[in-house]
């Protein structure tokens, strides 16, 4: 591991000024520390915010919204009473399916949303690629790409690795960001670039900016949501395709709907047209199948991942069924 300075922050004020000159925030460090130990990255300065749970932890609910502090662990999200409503089930399920019980008890929401892509070319010590900044091209496109993107992979076919991101996209969440002395709120989708180009960073935070919390509006807390994923193993595996759905149903008719897909694009992949096609109609398997077809209409398979198109539709249909189920 290359030497680095570690600043351990005692309060939020300290964290605000600490992250300058190429410094990087570290929360649980689940992946960051591995990357350092494996020498895949060399970072001169880490700013540890792991102890700021008073400011950045916890799941609270008030008249306007549900607030998930950036240091909330995935385990807390999956188990907390404040996420127990049917509306938040997508988030609860997404957090509960991630990684292993051990990791979920340590990994934070902020780290999960802002984690580095898992592309095995990006992370290969001996292979350079355009997104890694050490090669001319995307190596996965013509290489081994069974786990790679079928959407939006213009010049880089990595997929976004966060389950929670997919879920939050359908919950109309907002990210609260500390930028200098000010805070601002942006729609959660704006936390990632619209197109996951090779040259772009994986998220839109500027250096020194810190994700403080994620807010979910009260209006959303009214509906139903669900998250489903397909993977190769039941224990500790990444999804090969995943889908999150939020619907509001009144008098047997879908009044509002949001759909997002995971593990299929360099960014969490919203499917607004497919969601729109549900509105004003009563839920049915035919409707779900047609929405799934619409969601995957523009999918483009690489050499080894055509299966994602069929599998992704099945997963989306499952999520729609679960969200619209009358229980």
């Amino acid at each position: 591991m290359n030497p680095f300075t570690l600043t351990i922050c005692k309060d939020l004020a300290e964290a605000r000024g600490a992250c300058v000159d190429g410094a990087v925030y570290k929360a649980a460090g689940i992946d960051l520390v591995d990357r350092l130990k494996e020498r895949k990255e060399s970072l001169p300065q880490l700013v540890d915010i792991g102890r700021l749970r008073k400011d950045l932890g916890g799941i609270t609910i008030d008249a306007q919204s549900l607030r998930l502090g950036a240091l909330t662990t995935l385990h807390e999200i999956a188990e907390h009473e404040n996420t127990a409503s049917r509306a938040l089930r997508a988030l609860r399920e997404a957090a509960g399916e991630a990684a292993t019980p051990q990791v979920r008890r340590r990994a934070t929401l902020g780290g999960n949303l802002l984690q580095r892509a898992r592309c095995w070319y990006l992370r290969s010590a001996g292979i350079g690629c355009s997104h890694g900044g050490d090669g001319p091209t995307c190596m996965a496109r013509e290489g081994e790409n069974r786990y790679h993107a079928i959407f939006g992979g213009f010049d880089c076919v990595r997929v976004h690795p966060s389950n929670c991101a997919t879920a939050l996209c359908v919950l109309g969440a907002e990210a609260e960001i500390q930028s200098g002395d000010a805070t601002r709120r942006i729609p959660i989708r704006a936390l990632w670039p619209e197109h996951g180009l090779a040259a772009l960073p994986e998220h839109t935070l500027e250096p020194g900016e810190l994700l403080i919390a994620v807010h979910i509006g009260r209006d959303v807390i009214e509906g139903n949501s669900a998250y489903r994923e397909a993977r190769e193993k039941a224990s500790f595996d990444w999804p090969t395709t995943s889908a999150a759905v939020h619907v509001a149903i009144e008098d047997g008719v879908i009044r509002a709907a949001r759909i997002a897909l995971g593990a299929v694009a360099p960014v969490p992949w919203p499917c607004d047209d497919a969601a729109k096609s549900l509105i004003g109609k009563p839920p049915s398997d035919e409707l779900f199948a047609s929405a799934a077809r619409a969601a995957f209409k523009d999918a483009q398979a690489l050499t080894h991942n055509a299966y994602k198109i069929e599998q992704g539709q099945a997963v989306l249909i499952d999520a729609l069924r679960a969200a619209c189920a009358e229980v």
Partner: protein
């Protein structure tokens, strides 16, 4: 040595046979089916279980010595070429660096990404890794470096579906052709398997220390303490008697740890150069890419059955992908089906510029048996016979016939097999298809002579046993304690067993499932000799005939006196009784091999392609069952590893630059707790009479059946023959799509 005939009752309960075997007069009397045991076959716990789960057990990786330095290996980043220049001078000048040694000569070939070229030792692992970046190595590269077996020189022609299309070999072809022509049903196909890595939890490596007296101690993660000693002594330039290997605990080997390997050799050389002990353990990426693997294979079979469903023709051609070594990639299978069938076998190993294959738990068998058992199911289906009935019809192995029947019943085969593959059961959702599969196991591990076990009885009634071979996790220490305890009529908790030091009596490499059959009779003989000596002492003290002294239930019974064991041991005096047991050669017995069979059932989600194994059962014999829990654990472990091989494990290589892409345990997928179904191992105890304990090997045979049973279950569920491992969801979806397409065509 002269041997005497003895009549024994051998076989299994319900299949007893009187057999006359020849035994050495000095040996402990042979056990057979009539023997009544007090310890053997009981539910004993692993004696070092607590030490292992609490971390008290020290593996080579845990060895820490004063002044320890850390070693790393520099490796070729290219799959194929020549080392043109190597300059370590900048490295030697780096802070903390204590030694830098070239390992490959200029002009020599590099044969895979990871081929070692130099070794470095430094005060910290970080400093050693820093130094790696400063090595100046140059290479002359070859234009091509085939990475996949299918692209190797001499690879067969394949069609788009991956089937071998090259002509069948000429030699002997006419006879097979004739047998196929006369068959009532024939089938043909190509099966393929990918490279599996051993994925031992403890990686390869060693800690080496040169002592002031010129001797060398090496703590090594190995499955052959005596075997690697020779190679290490040679590398160190010391006589073998000056080098000691220690491996008290080993974190898995599965066949990859028979040789010292560059890592252990380098640790010895670095320790001499650095004048300090050096630890060199591989990291996980190196463990996947530089420490051996189960080779990939393409296997092509054409076969036929007669009108009665009996196998009539069997033609086999396989291609192995054992990496740069170009050997050791043979794929093979259970052959007790063949009976009078006209059969032929051909195998070719191809060279790829990847790490060389090494033996892995039943080398060649899981891959070959996956193909063979798949073909059996295919033939059964064509002949309209249930897969299990087909096996009962064709299997010439008498013991396995018993096991098929027992297992089929206990597993609930009739309820679990899908009578109409590809269709849902009556009233069930068409989305989830269920099916079952079965497969056979065999192995020929009866162990051998040339091993000794030391047994001491002390005057306080404690017992020591020692052997220099390693316990790689099978539970050998527990096995030896149980045997000695049985012989002396005491509890195994009295026996302290030490293994893994080459200063102790010689023992085998843990390979070919021979450790237990080699050492169990030896330990028993040692206890037998020690007991005789103890009888003499007790008899002398009490003034009775030695022949009238018996050991039972922790007591010593001498004529009309009964003494607790410890009290009897007071006759021993300060110097313990010490006996060295021998391993007499195997005699004739019941059978020279072990048999087994396994059953698996699966649920396949036809929408996502996900396969869930729902139940698995093994019926396995291993001669005399000594430590029941540990024996079952061996079988269960092989079944889990088999599920993992069938559904998950594959080395993914980038074909352009020869690097492994999933060289970790996140993307190299190994079955975890939620992937393991309800799982059961039924052990069939067989008295084989081949040695005094009747022990046989168990490590490998259950590996032979497991992947094939799982694969056959998937095929039975979805109605498409799955001919490529691992059966990942994408392959399931593709198979289902091809089935839909062919159905549509059929209309």
């Amino acid at each position: 040595m002269k041997r005497e005939p003895v009549e024994l009752t051998l076989g299994f309960l319900g299949g007893e046979k009187k057999v006359t075997v020849d035994v050495a007069p000095d040996d402990a009397p042979h056990w057979d089916l009539t023997t009544k045991f007090t310890q053997v076959g009981g539910e004993h716990d692993r004696m070092d279980a607590i030490a292992k789960v609490t971390g008290r057990a020290k593996y080579a990786f845990d060895v820490n010595l004063p002044g320890l330095r850390f070693g790393v290996l520099a490796r070729s980043p290219h799959p194929r070429g020549k080392l043109a220049a190597l300059d370590l001078s900048a490295v030697a000048a780096m802070p903390g660096v204590r030694a830098a040694i070239p390992l490959k000569e200029i002009g020599h070939q590099v044969r895979f990404v990871g081929d070692p070229i130099a070794a470095i030792a430094a005060d910290s692992l970080d400093q050693a890794k820093d130094a790696l970046a400063r090595i100046d190595a140059r290479y002359e590269l070859e234009a091509t470096a085939p990475i996949d077996l299918r692209e190797a020189e001499g690879a067969p022609a394949l069609d788009a579906a991956g089937n071998v299309t090259s002509p069948w070999p000429e030699k002997g072809k006419d006879e097979v052709d004739a047998a196929l022509a006369q068959s009532a049903h024939v089938a043909e196909g190509t099966w393929s398997v990918e490279v599996q890595t051993h994925s031992s939890l403890e990686s390869h490596g060693a800690v080496s220390r040169w002592n002031d007296d010129g001797s060398v101690d090496v703590w090594c993660s190995t499955q052959a303490t005596f075997g690697i000693r020779q190679g290490l002594a040679e590398a160190a330039g010391v006589p073998v008697d000056k080098l000691r290997v220690h491996a008290e605990f080993v974190g898995g080997g599965f066949g990859s740890k028979f040789v010292p390997g560059t890592e252990a050799l380098a640790s010895v050389l670095l320790a001499r150069e650095a004048k300090a002990p050096v630890k060199l353990m591989l990291d996980r990426y190196e463990e996947h890419t530089c420490a051996g693997n189960r080779p990939s294979a393409l296997m092509r079979i054409r076969a036929g059955v007669d009108a009665n469903g009996k196998l009539a023709a069997w033609d086999w051609q396989s291609f192995g992908g054992p990496g740069f070594s170009g050997s050791g990639g043979r794929a093979t299978h259970v052959r007790s089906w063949l009976g009078a069938a006209k059969s032929r076998t051909e195998h070719v190993d191809l060279v790829t510029f990847t790490d060389a294959g090494r033996p892995m738990r039943a080398p060649g068998w899981p891959q070959g048996n996956f193909a063979a058992e798949g073909m059996l199911d295919e033939l059964a289906q064509k002949a309209g016979i249930d897969p299990l009935a087909f096996r009962l019809l064709n299997d010439g192995d008498e013991l396995r016939q018993h096991e098929w029947k027992l297992g089929g019943e206990r597993f609930g085969w009739k309820e679990r097999v899908n009578p109409s593959p590809g269709s849902p059961r009556d009233g069930e959702s068409p989305r989830i298809l269920r099916g079952a599969g079965c497969a056979a196991a065999t192995w020929g591990a009866m162990g051998g002579a040339g091993n000794n076990v030391l047994c001491r009885i002390h005057q306080d009634g404690t017992i020591e046993a020692k052997n220099g071979a390693q316990d790689i996790g099978s539970g050998m220490k527990t096995v030896l304690a149980i045997l000695i305890a049985e012989e002396l009529g005491v509890s195994p908790s009295r026996v302290t067993v030490t293994m893994g030091h080459t200063t102790d009596p010689v023992g085998p490499a843990s390979g070919g499932s021979t450790t237990t059959p080699s050492l169990a009779p030896t330990a028993r003989h040692a206890a037998h000799l020690a007991k005789q000596e103890l009888c003499e002492r007790v008899a002398g003290k009490l003034g009775v005939e030695a022949a009238n002294v018996r050991f039972e239930a922790g007591k010593v019974i001498a004529g009309d006196r009964t003494l607790p064991f410890d009290e009897a041991c007071r006759a021993i005096g300060p110097n313990p009784i010490e006996a060295t047991g021998r391993r007499f050669r195997n005699g004739a017995g019941y059978k020279d091999s072990v048999s087994g069979c396994q059953f698996a059932s699966v649920d396949v989600d036809t929408a996502t392609g996900f396969v869930r194994v729902t139940k698995m059962l093994a019926v396995q014999d291993c001669g005399l069952v000594i430590a029941k829990k540990l024996a079952e654990s061996q079988v269960l472990g092989a079944m889990i590893q088999g599920i993992s091989y069938a559904l998950h494990e594959q080395r993914v290589m980038d074909r352009r630059n020869g690097r492994m892409l999933n060289g970790d345990l996140s993307w190299y997928k190994v079955a975890g707790p939620r992937d393991v179904p309800e799982i059961e191992a039924i052990l069939v105890s067989v008295a084989n009479g081949k040695n005094n304990a009747g022990a046989a090997g168990l490590g490998e045979p259950p590996s032979v059946a497991a992947p094939a049973a799982v694969a056959n279950a998937v095929s039975n569920a979805i109605g498409v023959r799955m001919r490529s491992l691992p059966i990942t969801p994408d392959k399931v979806l593709a198979a289902l799509a091809s089935r839909r397409a062919s159905k549509t065509e059929g209309r």
